[in-house]
Amino acid sequence: MPLSLAAPVRSQNKEQVATPSLKVGDHAPDFTLLSDQWKTVKLSDFHGKKNVFLAVYVLAFTGG
């Protein structure tokens, strides 16, 4: 089940920079997100049922 995600959001905190700490073998944190059909999608919904391919991208539809 491929999923994809996009979310650039303006920050109030100028110091915030990500340091990715997740690696292969780690438990993926659960998430609840809104789909393009305005339905709630949870990672845990796929537990025991499907593998998930999560593609995170920015500004796919804005020409950015």
């Binding site: 979310a7 990500a18 593998n51």
Partner: protein, 90 residues
Amino acid sequence: MDSPAANAAFAKQIDIKFPLLSDMNKKMLKDYGILKGYNQQGETYDWARRANIVIDKDGIIQHIEFDESAVNPNNALSVCTDLHKKQSSK
């Protein structure tokens, strides 16, 4: 900003058959550590880094790549194929 409405229009335009998700409050991006601050004209904006992540049925990360290496999905797809074969043969 890719809101659910913008994603719906994008999905329709290129006929996508899987869910396009929006992290409007950045929670998932923070949890996954993939937000990056960019300075533009004196203001800092948080954007998601590009990433491909494969998570198996048990919720374990089997593949994770960022930025330039995440533009091409072939490595992640290959992991998916191997995972599927392994699970099918059980």
